[in-house]
């Protein structure tokens, strides 16, 4: 069988990949999207009769479909692959652990739908040709697509929303705290079970149904369960080695241009592994500038009688403590009904809360590739924001008299970024203002790994905005090369 030739291949269908593919197809490009995970069996995807859907991890599918892979440098081979259709990837590293997801729609299935812009000026100062002003229309586009708005601006009464919660402790300040916009269909959904284990009834807007489904008719070619294993630069473009998990078959695909959007962790893996094999060369700054966005998740065993915090949107809202600027967010264990467990335990979990502290860390972590395994160096003492969050959690413990559990010396993030960062030159960065790898023309990066600094807020909109920007660069270069041909 002869290898297929493609114009643009996009790897990964999360906030970066789905946005980029959608915008390119809308601009008339021919795009093939390769996603290692399956289409998820949600209402919208079922209604579209997409074949081969995989269940979300719920009920009897919970234990089989929750985890795809666990990786750690001390594991044999560096990783254990649990199920091709698993939803989460966990990478454990002493200095920084990361959690990300798998499936058509990427992180939108597991995220808590906080759609937030970073501080003004976030994009300034990293490259002469990129600035916050030029990225602004791309934020507007994705926020509109996700239908993002604050709970207060919706007419529905959202259970457990922090602003309207009459039993909120007095020290949990919301006055003057900006509440996040959320990508929910407020009004007609139940909100419960629409978060970390997927959007069970489509109350949460996900990228597969929102961006990708409508474009299938317009020629977007989505190949689910296709995992890219190697990217090799050739004279004409790129040769990709792809495992088709549906048919247990390896394929070789050729592409003129490739856009990497496999998420920070997996984009780094692919680039490092391909370079180690000799498939790609250069990228001296690969792995520099890793960060965890200052994430510190905590479990607050508040055990409030008469409460069910799992109702409502997963994110209840943001709050602050007196005389403390630390950005804190409150969540319920939305999705706890999906997990098989004794009823008493479930009832207890519904009475507890999750807190997440977040803020711009110093983005100075380094990823390395050693003996075929990824290892991360991340010194938490370089990022004072982490110590600030630890202090805030200690204060909450003291103020409430209820224990807040968190890992003080083992940072874990659901918002990893960097490592393939944007910058002026190849000595300190990997990609240019076009999103193209400095020393590998035709290879682009459009996911969290491209971010040059910590957004300090949930990053999905920033990643999507970057992908929109890269799509615009690709579209303009395609149309100019078409004009040249004409």
């Amino acid at each position: 069988m002869a290898a297929e030739q493609h114009d643009i291949i996009v790897i990964g269908s999360g906030f970066g990949g789905a946005t980029l593919a959608a915008r390119l197809v809308a601009a008339g490009a021919r795009v093939t999207l390769l996603e290692r995970g399956p289409w998820r069996d949600t209402d919208a995807i079922r209604a579209a009769s997409i074949a081969g859907r995989a269940p979300l991890p719920a009920g009897k599918h919970f234990f089989s479909h929750a985890l795809r892979r666990v990786s750690a440098s001390w594991l044999p081979g560096g990783q254990i692959n649990l199920h091709h259709d698993g939803l989460f990837d966990l990478h454990y590293d002493r200095q920084l652990s990361m959690l990300c997801s798998s499936g058509v729609g990427g992180g939108s299935h597991v995220y808590s739908a906080m759609n937030v812009r970073p501080v003004d000026g976030y994009w300034n100062g990293h490259h002469d040709n990129v600035c916050s002003e030029s990225l602004a229309p791309h934020y507007d586009w994705i926020l509109k697509q996700m239908g993002s708005r604050t709970a207060a601006s919706s007419s529905a009464l959202i259970p457990n929303n922090i602003v309207t919660d009459s039993r909120r402790p007095v020290w949990m300040n919301v006055a003057g705290v900006r509440q996040p916009e959320m990508g929910f269909r407020f009004g007609d959904g139940s909100f419960s079970n629409n978060s970390f284990f997927g959007s069970q009834d489509n109350s949460k807007v996900t990228l597969d149904e929102r961006l990708l489904l409508p474009l299938l008719e317009r020629g977007l070619n989505v190949r689910d369960r296709h995992e890219v294993r190697d990217i090799c630069q050739t004279e004409q473009g790129f040769r990709l080695v792809v495992m088709d998990h549906k048919h247990n078959r390896m394929h070789t695909l050729l592409a003129r241009r490739v856009v990497l959007a496999a998420g920070t962790l997996n984009t780094l893996r692919l680039l490092f592994a391909s370079r180690a094999r000799g498939s790609l060369n250069g990228m001296p700054a690969l792995g520099l500038g890793i960060g965890g966005n200052g994430d510190v998740p905590a479990y607050w065993a508040c055990n409030e009688s008469g409460r069910d915090y799992s109702l409502g949107t997963p994110c209840h809202g943001r709050f602050a403590l007196d005389n403390d600027a630390t950005d804190l967010t409150r969540y319920g264990l939305n999705g706890v009904d999906c997990i098989p467990m004794p009823p008493t335990l479930r009832a207890r979990l519904k009475r507890d809360l999750v807190l997440v502290g977040m803020g711009a860390d110093s983005a100075d972590g380094i990823a390395r590739w050693q003996n075929g395994k990824l290892s991360l160096q991340y010194r938490q003492q370089n990022s004072p924001v982490l110590a600030d969050i630890y202090r805030a959690f200690d204060r909450i413990s003291a103020l409430s008299g209820k224990k807040v559990y968190f890992l003080r010396s083992r940072p874990i993030t659901v918002h990893p970024f960097g490592g393939v960062r944007l910058g002026q030159n190849s000595a300190s960065s990997v990609i240019s203002a076009r999103g193209e790898v400095h020393d590998i023309p035709g290879l682009f990066v459009a996911d969290g790994s491209a971010l040059p600094a910590a957004p300090g807020v949930p990053p999905s909109m920033t990643i999507a905005a970057w992908a929109g920007h890269v799509a615009a660069q690709l579209s303009s270069s395609s149309s100019s090369s078409q004009q040249e041909v004409a």
Binding site: R229, C232, R239, V241, M243, T252, A273, A276, R277, S279
Partner: protein, 163 residues
């Protein structure tokens, strides 16, 4: 399921014949290698139905001293296979040329029909194409009156690429 590995050899060692043929069809003939190259074989005819992890494990085993074949040498238009160590005893010699391969595209052609070989080996042909800088993917063929049959695949890799 295979995992990403840092080495071209292990990267391919659980692939099937048809998958390798598809990859091979995308490769350029490139320049002929020169000097001594480490070899590793896989996708042996008849073992194609084995589950991938098992096939991968067998080929990994065949890259240990259990299998005496170490690699090949290329000197101008002549070349040989080497046993026991890379510069070890030579067995199976070939003429190096260029011609269209089984898929009709240009390949480096290793023709074992040379006087120095015992008659059994003279029916062997080899096709090589450049996989990456310093790495070649090769197919070993059996030539008879009815045409050519693939016997197995192997990679050749220069010492500096043998990470």
């Amino acid at each position: 399921m295979t995992s990403l590995a840092t080495n071209a050899h292990t990267h391919l060692n659980d692939w099937r014949d048809a998958e390798l043929a598809e990859l091979f069809s995308t490769l350029p003939a490139g320049e002929a290698p020169s000097g001594y190259l480490h070899g590793r074989l896989f996708a042996v005819r008849g073992l194609g139905a084995l589950p991938r992890p098992l096939a991968g494990a067998i080929y990994k085993l065949l890259s240990t001293p259990i299998n005496p074949w170490r690699g090949k040498s290329f000197h101008g238009e002549q070349g040989s296979n080497h046993l026991l160590w890379l510069h070890g005893p030579a067995l199976g010699h070939y003429r190096i040329g260029k011609q269209n391969g089984m898929d009709g595209q240009p390949s480096l052609w290793l023709d074992y029909n040379v006087d120095r070989n015992p008659s059994l080996l003279r029916a062997i042909r080899g096709e090589a194409r450049q996989l990456r800088q310093g790495q070649w993917l090769c197919r070993m063929l059996w030539q008879n009156d009815r045409g050519q049959t693939t016997l197995l695949w192997f990679t050749l890799q220069g010492a500096q690429h043998g990470r």
